[in-house]
């Protein structure tokens, strides 16, 4: 703040000085700008302070500028400390610029303003474009992974265009995303061109209180690039990426599959039998029967992706601009190539000074993207081919022209399912435009006593339209009649009739904002800042859809048959809404001598989601910091000189969240009632209406009992932290402890309202939980000759504890409550089950084992811990032994190296204290007729002689990971629920910047190679550890990517 203030002051002085000294001589000044190592600094800006005159250094760091002989020259370059030099009539001035390792002076974006990093009192983390770009992926969210302390990102799938990633701050839930000052959505952030991002700030604690009723989970502030005065700069970034699946289970071959199924069938106490006899093996051997290698029919080994963007920026002192365009194309792993995604972005950020002190800014951006998938979802495609097994051919004929149905699970042929030309497609197209003009006036320019006072008005308009299309296409499958030899065709029932559905969603929001800002330093010691603002937001969403059966297989409504034509609307609150928000916001900062820092913020927030009289809430926060390193005693102590910064800070605030609410105070009904599977006539669900007088009449949904007192939940957050920096960046430590308690979380006292009332209880503000955790960041930066490097280590631990959850109740006894109530006074995601106690390794082991076990126990089977010691294993032995998929701990280690033109950055990232269970296809052989035989199941205990009776003690066993086929561990045991702890090489990038060439001095070319997720260390088998167990493990995989690219600018 001080520097801002003094800059303004100096500028004014100079302005006056300039007028007075108008008659001064203009002289030509030359010189060289070098960095600390003696290397020339290319492109450094050399400006006359307070004027528009200036130039940039050339390839040798040389410059030449004409300025008045008494001017002050300002030498600056990104990443280096700006230096001012009085010309004093000299004609040669050589300058050495030092690295801006003291990033304490750098500016951080905070809610409704900016602050110097050094004077922050809250937990605010920032990351700039350069750091972000070290991870190469299409989703900026994934670029944050491991880069920002407290920000957790885990990617769940790499399916193109789905942007499947979860992101939260300190485990607090979905954060508010603010882009260029306007609350927007995570989806908007995901779709930004990474190159357009200038920086990302994360408000982790009470500093988010200025966002009031939407700030409880923290705020992610994204700023896009603005133009800089100076020569126009054109940048082009292009890359080509090869994706490979990060762990993808495969099916066995037919012989293994039959062996495994034989084992499964032999696994019977009462005498098993062989299902696939020698003749079946022989039939596959001699080609009478053909197997299918679904792995290679469905999943490609690699899939391409490309990314290009170009930006032009520059401007004069009065007008600056940054315009850009971006393009992404990504393909999925399905061999049909029908899973793909493309996106076009554009952006124009313009700033103009209309008259002195009055600045006009206009940000316009837009995007269009399109996701194309087969008609069947990728989960179902993967599920389907895993379940098929390999014993039946994909094609009915040996020439592979007719797709087969015989013997396939539900007669579904996965090749048909993944191919749009055969079975149809779904497309998801989004168009987005945001326009946000703003105007800012600096009162100080008009009247000096008002110096430091500015007013800013902003209006923004966002419009988003989604056009989705689903085309179901009829197709036929074939089978050979073994008696006649003919091929018989059969219409695949689920593909018929041809059908087209289109959905259109439009959403818009406007935001108007007036901000008064005041920043001034008094008496050189008292730094005062104040912000007061008024903000109004309106949001509206609407939609419609239409579908109909088609007379023939053409994906246009022109082909509609007379059947099944429906037009309708999605009336859910997420798609059909009108909301208003108003807020008064304020902030006051005071710092004394840069030593004692205090800040107070508030937001008086109104939301139309609540009943009249309950709409407004007040959300205050306070924070304070003490920069011990600025104390005179500290500064005067030579022994402590190596310390650049030592600061302690603390914050406390109250925030809110209204996101889970939907007019719980209104009495009435929701029309029309809705239910699932409307596209199939609700045949397996409640039909939300009835046939009256021969046509379907929709009914209404009863609202829960109304609660006019419903309001947002309150989140009280406390943070205390220490920042330490020494030896000019050789060591940086930042440590935070945080605690957040939420009260008034929405709950329904379903256990209190008697069932006979016949209505669901209203939502009330009754539940509560708390989060606490620790955050540590260590940094080290150094330069040895021409070799520069930096290391950053980050670790975050978050524990969520449920305190009250009124939905749970009515437990018969305390054991029942302990066993089943995971939501009251208990840590998040506690998993109950059996713990492992080794394996049965031999018959002797089985016979001598002291604890009761099934008579069907075989060598290789699982031993469980007799937790309660009663001599038998039953459900009383289930006890808490793991946490759920969400890991408590996240950590990362980033390395950056630079040597001459070569740069290398490496990011290791990992998590711990989470677990996942293998489900369905990953748990056991899941299917019939040879289906579900993933290769991993070959690693099992089995008799060395496949025809031997497994229950005979004479049988000789081969050991393996799994038990004998057919014997699986309890799903609820530590055999099956494994830690998801992992450490992975998240990103490694090697770049080389070519030396500048004489005939094109502005030309800057860098080539790079980046690998994303190339290496993972984990105990999770078969699938990626970030891959959740939600879709039962059948989700589209994560990817490893290898990117070659170049950055070119001139």
């Amino acid at each position: 703040m001080k520097s801002v203030f003094s800059t303004i002051l100096t500028t004014l002085c100079l302005f006056l000085a300039g007028v007075l000294s108008y008659a001064q001589n203009t002289i030509s000044v030359t010189g060289t700008v070098k960095d600390g190592s003696g290397a020339p600094v290319i492109g450094a800006s050399v400006m006359q302070k307070g004027a528009t005159v200036g130039t940039a250094t050339d390839l040798d760091g040389k410059y030449n500028v004409s300025v008045p002989s008494n001017a002050i020259l300002e030498f600056s370059c990104i990443g280096m400390t700006t230096q001012e030099v009085n010309v004093n009539g000299r004609t040669v001035i050589n300058v050495v610029l030092t690295d801006d390792s003291n990033f304490l002076e750098s500016v951080v974006v905070v809610g409704y303003g900016t602050q110097k990093r050094g004077s922050l009192t809250g937990a605010v983390a920032g990351i700039n474009s350069g750091e972000l770009m070290k991870t190469k992926t299409e989703n900026p969210q994934n670029m944050l992974t491991g880069r920002v302390p407290g920000v957790r990102v885990w990617q769940t799938s790499a399916e193109p265009g789905t942007y499947s990633a979860n992101m939260d701050i300190r485990g607090l839930g979905s954060p508010l995303v603010v882009i260029d000052g306007v609350p927007r959505t995570v989806s908007d952030f995901q779709r930004l061109t990474p190159e357009d991002i200038e920086n990302v700030s994360v408000l982790k604690d009470a500093s988010a209180a200025i966002y009031g009723v939407r700030g409880a989970n923290g705020v992610i502030l994204v700023s896009t690039k603005q133009g800089q005065a100076g020569k126009s700069k054109v940048s082009y970034n292009g890359s080509y990426t090869i994706q490979t699946p990060s762990k993808m289970p495969e099916l066995m071959n037919a012989f293994d599959a039959m062996t495994i199924y034989n084992e499964k069938s032999m696994n019977s106490m009462t005498g098993g039998n062989i299902v696939y006899g020698e003749e079946a093996f022989e039939a596959f051997r001699n080609g009478t029967r053909r197997e299918t290698d679904w792995n290679s029919l469905i999943i490609a080994k690699t899939a391409p992706q490309t990314q290009h963007d170009i930006s032009i920026s520059g401007g004069s002192e009065k007008v600056q601009y940054y315009v850009s365009m971006g393009y992404i194309y990504q393909e999925g792993f399905f061999k049909s190539r029908d899973l793909n995604y493309n996106k076009y972005n554009f952006r124009a950020n313009l700033t103009a000074e209309i008259v002195k002190g009055l600045k006009f800014n206009m940000n316009i951006s837009g995007l269009q993207d399109k996701r194309h998938t087969p008609y069947t979802s990728s989960v179902d495609i993967i599920r389907n081919y895993w379940k098929q097994g390999v014993l039946y051919p994909a094609y009915a004929d040996p020439e592979n022209t007719m797709l087969n149905y015989e013997g396939l699970d539900l007669e579904q042929n996965t090749v048909a399912m993944m191919t749009s030309d055969i079975s149809g497609y779904r497309t998801y197209e989004q168009k987005n435009i945001t326009v946000s003009p703003s105007i800012e006036y600096d009162f100080g320019t008009a009247w000096k006593p008002l110096e430091g006072l500015k007013i800013k008005g902003m209006f923004s308009y966002d419009y988003r339209q989604d056009d989705n299309e689903a085309f179901r296409k009829e197709y036929y499958l074939y089978a050979q009649n073994k008696v006649t030899g003919d091929y018989e065709q059969k219409l695949f029932a689920d593909s018929s009739p041809n059908n087209l559905r289109k959905d259109n969603y439009s959403k818009w929001q406007t935001l108007s904002q007036v901000l008064l800002n005041y920043n001034r330093e008094f008496a050189g010691k008292h730094d005062v800042g104040a912000t007061l603002g008024w903000e109004v937001q309106k949001r509206r969403g609407s939609n419609y859809f239409a579908y109909g059966d088609l007379a023939f297989g053409s994906p246009y409504f022109t082909a509609l048959s007379s059947d099944n034509q429906v037009v309708g609307m999605d009336a859910s609150s997420g798609q059909f809404y009108e909301l208003g928000y108003e807020a008064l916001i304020g902030r006051l900062n005071y710092s004394f001598d840069d030593r004692y820092l205090v800040e107070a913020q508030f937001r008086y927030d109104g939301s139309s989601k609540f009943a009249r009289g309950h709409q407004w809430g007040f959300f205050p926060s306070v924070s304070a910091g003490w920069r011990i390193s600025q104390e005179p005693f500290f500064k005067n102590c030579a022994a402590l000189n190596f310390i650049n910064q030592l600061k302690v800070r603390a914050s406390y605030g109250e925030l809110g969240d209204d996101s889970g609410l939907n007019y719980e105070w209104v009495t009435g009904y929701i029309y029309p009632a809705t239910s699932g599977n409307a596209e199939n006539g609700y045949y397996n669900q409640y039909a939300p209406g009835y046939m009256l007088n021969g046509s379907f009449v929709f009914g209404v949904n009863n609202q829960p009992l109304p609660n006019t007192n419903i309001t947002w939940y309150t989140s009280k957050t406390f943070n205390v932290g220490v920042d330490f920096e020494a030896w000019n960046g050789m060591l940086g430590v930042s440590f935070d402890y945080f605690h957040r308690k939420r009260t008034g979380l929405f709950g329904q006292r379903s256990s209190d309202v008697p069932t006979i009332v016949g209505a669901s209880p209203s939502k009330e503000n009754v539940n509560s939980d708390s989060h606490m955790g620790l955050e540590l960041q260590l940094t080290h930066k150094n330069r040895i000759g021409e070799f520069t490097y930096g290391i950053t280590g980050i670790a975050t631990v978050t524990r969520q504890k449920y305190l009250t959850y009124v939905e749970n109740g009515g437990y018969g006894n305390s054991y029942d409550k302990w066993r089943h109530d995971n939501m009251n006074n208990r840590y998040q995601g506690v998993q109950f089950g059996y713990t492992a106690n080794g394996r049965f390794t031999s018959w002797e082991d089985i016979w001598s084992y002291g604890i009761y076990h099934e008579s069907s126990t075989l060598p290789g089977d699982y031993k469980y811990e007799d937790w309660n010691g009663d001599g038998e294993i039953n459900d009383l032995d289930e006890h808490p032994y793991a946490f759920d998929q969400t890991p408590w701990m996240n950590y990362s280690l980033a390395f950056d190296f630079g040597w001459k033109g070569i740069d290398l950055s490496i990011l290791f990232q990992g998590s711990a204290l989470g677990s996942m269970a293998y489900r369905e296809p990953l748990y056991s052989i899941w299917g019939s007729n040879g289906g579900g035989t993933l290769k991993q199941y070959l690693d099992r205990w089995h008799p060395s002689d496949p025809s031997a009776d497994p229950y005979s003690p004479q049988t000789d066993w081969v050991s393996g990971y799994y038990g004998y086929t057919g014997h699986y561990p309890s799903e609820n045991s530590s055999f099956n629920r494994v830690s998801t702890a992992y450490l992975r090489l998240k990103s490694v990038e090697l770049g080389y910047t070519f030396p500048t060439i004489n005939w094109a001095k502005d030309l800057n070319l860098r080539v790079f190679f980046n690998a994303y997720n190339p290496l993972t260390f984990t105990k999770v088998r078969f699938v990626d550890p970030e891959h959740p167990d939600s879709d039962l493990g059948r989700m589209y995989p994560l990817n490893k990517t290898y990117t070659f690219g170049l950055n070119l600018s001139f």
Binding site: G407, I439, Y441, I455, G457, A479, Q480, K482, V483, L491, A493, D494, S496, P497, S512, V514, W534, D549, N564, A571, S573, F576, E578, E582, S608, R612, N662, T667, G668, Y669, Y671, A673, N680, G681, Y682, Y683, N684, Q685, Y686, A687, G689, Y690, M691, L692, N693, G694, S695, F696, V697, F698, G699, V700, N702, Q703, P754, T755, V757, G758, G810, G812
Partner: protein, 684 residues
């Protein structure tokens, strides 16, 4: 500038109501709104139709929709949903109270709008609320016995004594059912405003059905060992069963009410049995008539029908229950049993009087198989109604001959029964274990079966020609998706639905919730029961036994079955005649499972009455367990003829069980522990 911005912003509206909320005013003040309210009520009715699976309970899930598979012996299905009706995954409890609230709300709120409607319409809408309430209490009473009688819209929050209620006694509950049906019948018109909703006679017909249940329970609880009744632990209320001094009066009263209600429907003359294409003596016409009646919305027999309309609101019966060759992608979900078809006329029997003859011996385990040129010859004299309900092997469906064949026998004739033990204890013997199939123990291979369809068919070379061992539709011994019992369901399948249009959520034939035949059967059954109890006719001038005899004969005549040789009498034998007729006529309509419960013939001691007629339960059960048989056609290659084997269904090995406690479903335990008042069943 700031002022301009301020003024722009100050007009933001903060009172923005949600966009899709409607109020009582919108719904109750006008007929269009009332249609929405009615649609809401009826959509939540606990109808048991194509979207009801006994295993799952009332959750409107039509996945795997099959008929008659819940241990009633009508049919078998390979899936886990084919189990005894001893409880429901989603107990009919909270959804019942939700619907009751909607009905009670209408009763409370509609008077404010009485001026908006003609009296008759106003009464009708009120009557609908009573009808809904009556039906909900009725269906709860069937399941649980006494239930909390919520007859007002409960204000919540409120005084504790007003917001939670104990279960009423079973007697009070049935009295409430009676009162509400009576109220509905009085208020409802003959022609309802909205076709699809109940009219006066629907209320009466369901009243008859409900009172038959109530009267039966009151009487036959006494036949269960130890008397089936009990007092709630928390309240001391007799939540199930009846006191020793009340059951007789209750039973008589409720049978009387059943009889009165049924007779009122009969006397109205508004309904008759469907005989549009029926012709006397023409078996083909009689069969076709009973195929056509399920889809004909103009049928004079229909009293209340639940309609569907593709593609808006559909079910999946055809997708799940069609023969294997039409699988899309599932099939064969309802395979009728041998035991079931034994109820019908038109077969030769052994001496026990009911087992269908397949050999020339004294039982199906002795003698030599009878041989038939084609499987359909076996069914030449089968009752037309049976042919309308069941697809026989070799009969035509959707213009395809439905080939059902268990296997091919290549040995010479005469052929002795394939299995050595046909008793219940030998039920686990499977054809594929026989030495003549496996060729083991030195036996020559004479029996060919197929583990699966298509390429897994065993091929038999007969005179140089190839023949699949199993028929196109199975049974396949390793694939439960093929036929299971040698028979397929025909009733309710949509024969006109094109093969390529069979699919999940693609069927829209209507379900007849109440039809006139049901009313006739209710009249007949209550008449015989009243006669047995020595009660004189509650309807002036009626000769009850004559009414019953005529009713049964009318149904039999339409069915093409043999008419009764004489009049019904006040005897258990006559009662069984009515019961058997009911089991036959109303098969696959989700009614039999309730009949078996109210007759209390499912438990071990009373199971002799399971089939409506008397059969020795040892023949098909042991202890709490019981299972059913198939009728398996085999081709004899030596003779070129077919023979049939009767054995326990051998593909999916379904076994059922039933205990006395299952006559009343348990109250959901969460509801018991949550409430101070709600009692668990005393015998659980």
């Amino acid at each position: 500038m700031a002022a301009v911005l301020m003024s722009v912003m100050s007009c933001t509206e903060m009172d923005l109501p949600p966009k899709n909320t409607v109020t009582d005013d919108d719904l109750l003040s006008n007929q269009a709104g009332m249609s929405i309210y009615m649609a809401t009520l009826y959509s939540k009715m606990p109808w048991e139709d194509f979207k009801y699976m006994a295993q799952w309970g009332i959750n409107w899930n039509g996945w795997l929709a099959s008929l008659g598979i819940e241990g009633t012996g009508e049919a078998l299905d390979r899936d886990g949903v084919c189990t005894s009706f001893t409880g429901e995954d989603t107990p009919y409890w909270s959804r019942a109270f939700e619907l009751l609230r909607n009905a009670n709300h209408l009763i409370a709120a509609l008077p404010a709008y009485s001026g908006n409607y003609p009296e008759v319409t106003y009464n009708e809408f009120l009557g609908q609320a009573y009808f809904v309430r009556a039906y909900v209490f009725y269906k709860m009473a069937c399941r649980f016995g006494g239930v909390p009688l919520v007859t007002t819209e409960i204000d919540y929050p409120g005084e504790e004594s007003k917001i939670d209620l104990p279960r009423a006694s079973e007697r009070e509950t049935w009295e409430q059912v009676l009162a509400d049906f009576d109220q509905a019948a009085e208020l409802l018109p003959v022609n309802p405003t909205f076709e699809g909703t109940a009219n006066k006679y629907a209320a009466l017909a369901f009243k008859a059905e409900a009172m038959l249940y109530a009267g039966s329970v009151a009487k036959y609880n006494e036949t269960v060992s130890g008397r089936l009744t009990g007092i709630g632990e928390k309240t001391g209320v007799r939540v199930i069963g009846f006191a020793e001094d009340e059951w007789q009066d209750c039973s008589k009263k409720w049978f009387s009410e059943a009889y009165k209600a049924a007779r009122e429907v009969m006397k109205s003359g508004k309904y008759s049995l469907y005989k549009k294409s029926w012709a006397k003596g023409d078996r083909e016409a009689q069969y076709k008539n009973m195929v056509a009646m399920w889809k004909d919305l103009t049928s004079p027999e229909n009293i209340l029908v639940k309609r569907y309309e593709y593609p808006t609101v559909t079910h999946g019966l055809d997708a799940y229950c069609s023969p294997f060759i039409f699988r899309a992608p599932l099939c064969s979900g309802s395979c009728p049993t041998l035991d079931f078809i034994e109820l019908f006329d038109g077969f030769d029997r052994y001496d026990d009087g009911y087992t269908i003859r397949v050999t020339d011996g004294n039982s199906n385990a002795t003698g030599n198989y009878l041989l038939y040129d084609s499987p359909m010859d076996f069914f030449a004299n089968a009752e037309p109604r049976l042919r309308a309900y069941v697809i026989f092997p070799g009969d035509v469906f959707k213009k395809r001959e439905i080939e059902i064949r268990a296997g091919v026998y290549t040995g010479s004739a005469p052929i002795k029964p394939l299995l050595s033990d046909y008793s219940y204890s030998g039920a686990n013997t499977k054809y594929q274990h026989l030495d003549i199939y496996t060729g083991s123990n030195g036996a020559a291979k004479k029996l060919y079966l197929s583990p699966n369809s298509g390429t897994n068919q065993e091929i038999v070379k007969i005179d140089g020609k190839s023949m699949n061992a199993a028929g196109e539709n199975g049974p396949f011994y390793s694939n439960g998706e093929g036929n299971l019992t040698g028979l397929y369901l025909r009733k309710y399948l949509d024969e006109d639905l094109a093969v390529e249009n069979i699919g999940e959520g693609k069927s829209d034939q209507p379900f007849i919730l109440m039809r006139y035949a049901d009313v006739l059967l209710a009249a007949a059954e209550s008449a015989v029961e009243l006669s047995l109890a020595g009660v004189s006719s509650p309807v002036e001038g009626d000769n009850m036994l004559e009414v019953a005899t005529t009713a049964i004969n009318d149904i039999r005549e339409r069915a093409g079955a043999t008419l009764l040789s004489g009049s019904l009498t006040a005897s258990n034998e006559s009662r069984d005649v009515v019961r058997k007729e009911r089991r036959k006529e109303l098969a696959f309509e989700h009614k039999t499972k309730w009949d078996l419960r109210r007759w209390r013939v499912l438990d071990e001691n009373n199971r002799d009455g399971f089939w409506g007629e008397k059969r020795d339960s040892k023949e098909f059960s042991s202890g709490t367990q019981f299972r059913f048989k198939g009728l398996y056609p085999f081709y004899s290659s030596e003779t070129g003829k077919y023979f049939f084997d009767e054995s326990y269904q051998w593909v999916s090995m379904k076994t059922f069980g039933y205990n006395v406690v299952d006559y009343y479903f348990s109250i959901p335990s969460g509801e018991v522990s949550k409430s101070k008042y709600i009692d668990q069943q005393p015998n659980r």
